[in-house]
């Protein structure tokens, strides 16, 4: 039986023109690479020229697309070295700033010839027909996944035309189309994709996000210019709610309040430094009454007494935490001590009590740090 199977497999291999051609192509490819390596005359035989992307002067989307077009038009029939070309194109995407562009990925897939890689029989389908090409497109799809680019149905059609319905890249595509929409908008604190480049917009987003804990909190943009004697002329994005104002009004004058920071908050790939106006924590009232304790039940039938007056207390707000009371948060354009001083002066207008409370600056980082930092993916 095994013999039979083996024979039929070979007959299929021989009958099929595609596979024999594939073998021939393979041999040809090996021959050329051998020649390349041993002769050292690379320019004559090399299939995918090196530095196609690296040597370009202007690195932007247009030149990237143009390079793909040049490659496609250079050798319209055989399009030799397309796998190497796609790999080098994938490697250089970030330098051209196209790593989040779906159209560019489509253009890269379009480099592959249509129909040629579609398996003609079950064995070809099962043993990954044209494995290098399939693996190359799987890697491309994975790069899309890493960059959070969701494919569309046009891409499915392209993959169907190239690899047929049993292609492995298509399976990857289906998996992506199942899972990616499920996670795309999952975050309860959505941030625009890509996040804004403007520092002020980013700071507004960050402060809004932090203060979203209290629906009543209001985000205000102050300008340091409005304060006399301010050195840094910059903007200050600050958030405070009515509850926080009340808490500050009730705060003991003898205890100091602290201006703490720069802490980091991340909005996708960008981070913003923010500062906190924090007071000393309120003593926590421990309610030790055990509701499950049935040993001391009072029976109302004997010796009726008026119910014991329970001590009332206000519910603690979100701003009162174990590590202190948060009175306000802010982000400034320069994150300098002077801009924070201007912030306190602005807050004093709404919270007159702040003028009487001692304020301690405990800044973690040296003043003068840049607020917004963009992290480049390496």
């Amino acid at each position: 039986m095994f013999h039979k199977m083996w024979r039929s497999y070979f007959t299929i291999l021989h009958k099929d023109r595609n596979s024999s051609k594939c073998v021939r192509n393979c041999i040809k490819h090996i021959n050329t690479s051998v020649v390349c390596l041993s002769n050292g005359k690379k320019e004559a035989k090399e299939v995918a020229p090196k530095g196609l992307f690296e040597n370009l002067q202007n690195k932007n989307r247009d030149t990237y697309i143009e390079t793909i077009k040049i490659f496609v038009n250079r050798d319209a029939i055989y399009r030799r070295g397309h796998v190497d070309f796609i790999y080098s194109a994938l490697k250089n995407m970030e330098e051209f700033g196209v790593q989040k562009d779906l159209k560019v990925y489509k253009a890269l897939i379009d480099v592959l010839p249509k129909g040629k890689f579609i398996p003609q029989n079950i064995i070809q389908a099962e043993f990954m027909h044209y494995p290098k090409q399939q693996q190359c497109i799987i890697d491309l799809l994975e790069q899309m996944e890493d960059n959070g680019v969701m494919p569309d149905y046009e891409m499915e059609d392209m993959l169907l035309n190239i690899f047929g319905k049993k292609g492995f890249p298509l399976r990857k595509f289906w998996r992506m189309m199942y899972w990616m929409p499920k996670f795309k908008n999952l975050s309860p604190w959505p941030v625009p994709n890509p996040p804004p480049d403007d520092m002020l917009d980013l700071a507004k987003l960050a402060i809004d996000r932090i203060s979203s804990i209290d629906a009543q909190s209001k985000t205000t943009i102050y300008h340091a210019n409005d304060i006399t004697d301010s050195i840094d002329h910059t903007w200050i994005v600050s958030a405070q709610s009515t509850k926080q104002k009340m808490l500050l009004q009730e705060y003991n004058e003898k205890d100091p309040v602290y201006v703490e920071g720069g802490f980091k908050v991340w909005l996708r790939s960008k981070s913003v430094n923010y500062f906190v106006l924090r007071g000393k924590p309120k003593p926590i009232k421990e309610d030790n009454e055990d509701n499950d304790n049935v040993s001391g039940l009072e029976v109302p039938y004997f010796g009726l007494k008026p119910p014991v007056k329970k001590s009332l207390s206000l519910n603690t707000s979100q701003h009162e935490q174990e590590d202190g009371i948060i009175f306000s948060v802010c982000a400034t354009g320069t994150s300098s001590k002077d801009s924070l001083l201007s912030w306190i002066r602005h807050l004093e207008k709404d919270n007159p009590k702040l003028a009487t409370i001692p304020i301690v600056f405990t800044l973690k980082q040296m003043p003068g740090d840049v607020t917004v930092t963009e992290e480049t993916d390496s």
């Binding site: 932090i210 991340w266 930092t373 993916d377």
Partner: protein, 293 residues
């Protein structure tokens, strides 16, 4: 690489400059040799004397554990009613001993990256998982991408180092009180099985953090967790076997380089009778030989 193949390789290289021979060992097996997945433990085995000394110290602790187990068995007082809204805390961060239950790993531990991470207690007695995510890939030609930091609990076990499982069948929510930095983190629930294909079974979900000075209270139903193995989401999904939980972990692996900080108060479990969903992800019938290939 074997020395023989190494010499052969150098020979062929000298003569022709081309590699004709395959020098890496081909993988001809489906089974996995070790649960480390190819990562070797290069730490030196301590000498006999030290092992005996350490072993006796361990014995003391194990007997304490065993005593407790026997006591629990004869007392026979298991929790039978799980009241809604009541959080049973599994891992709390309030004492330095709490940190002993956690293992922190980064890609730099295996020379596969440059990320660093720490798990400490803050001055207010909360756990702080902090560090730096670096996406710099070491130039060894083997590693394709880098940048992860991970904290996970030690495996559930009984006394005398016997392996066991956490049984969370009475709960349907994971409850956490955390304070993050706006990054999202990955929650991992490991359900390691006996056979090698189930060694890396892990259920994941995302933990989004608000960022800022406020603590956040997160409840995630177990039905939302999805199955993956070695970081690859599986085609055939099933709901989590809640009686076969071996460990829990949190990963910081966002594709943005920089510092991260996640403060954790506790990680607990809750039963919510209003949540009846068993598994959140629908499955489709597919043509043959497409799924799980």
């Amino acid at each position: 690489m074997l020395p023989l193949t190494r010499t052969l390789r150098s020979l062929t290289k000298q003569r022709t400059g081309i590699n004709y021979l395959k020098t890496s060992a081909p993988l001809q097996v489906f089974w996995e040799r070790t649960d480390k997945g190819g990562y070797r433990d290069d730490r030196q085995y301590p000498p006999f004397k030290d092992r005996m000394r350490e072993g006796l110290k361990e014995l003391k602790k194990e007997i304490v554990l065993w005593k407790q187990e026997v006591k629990d068995h004869f007392e026979g007082d298991p929790v039978l009613i799980f009241r809604p809204g009541e959080v049973d805390v599994q891992w709390k961060f309030n004492k330095p001993e709490c940190l002993d239950k956690w293992i922190v790993t980064t890609d730099s531990d295996n020379n596969e990256g440059y990320s660093t991470a720490n798990l400490d207690l803050t001055q207010y007695g909360k756990g702080a998982f902090t560090g730096h995510l670096s996406m710099r890939v070491p130039k060894d030609g083997r590693v394709k991408r880098a940048g992860y930091c991970n904290m996970r609990t030690i495996r559930a076990r009984k006394s005398f180092k016997r392996e066991s499982h956490f049984n969370w069948t009475s709960y349907n929510m994971l409850v956490m009180r955390v304070r993050g930095d706006g990054r999202s983190y990955l929650l991992n629930i490991n359900t390691r099985g006996y056979f090698d294909i189930t060694w890396n079974d892990m259920y994941h979900y995302v933990l989004f953090t608000r960022g800022g000075p406020y603590w956040q209270y997160t409840r995630i139903p177990f039905s939302k967790f999805f199955l993956a193995s070695k970081g690859r989401v599986q085609d055939m999904q099933t709901s989590m076997p809640l009686d076969k939980i071996t460990s829990f972990g949190i990963t910081a692996a966002e594709r943005f380089e920089g510092d991260f900080a996640l403060e954790i108060d506790y990680i607990g479990l809750e039963y919510d009778p209003n949540h009846v969903e068993d598994f959140a992800y629908e499955m489709y019938e597919m043509p043959k030989y497409i799924v799980a290939t």
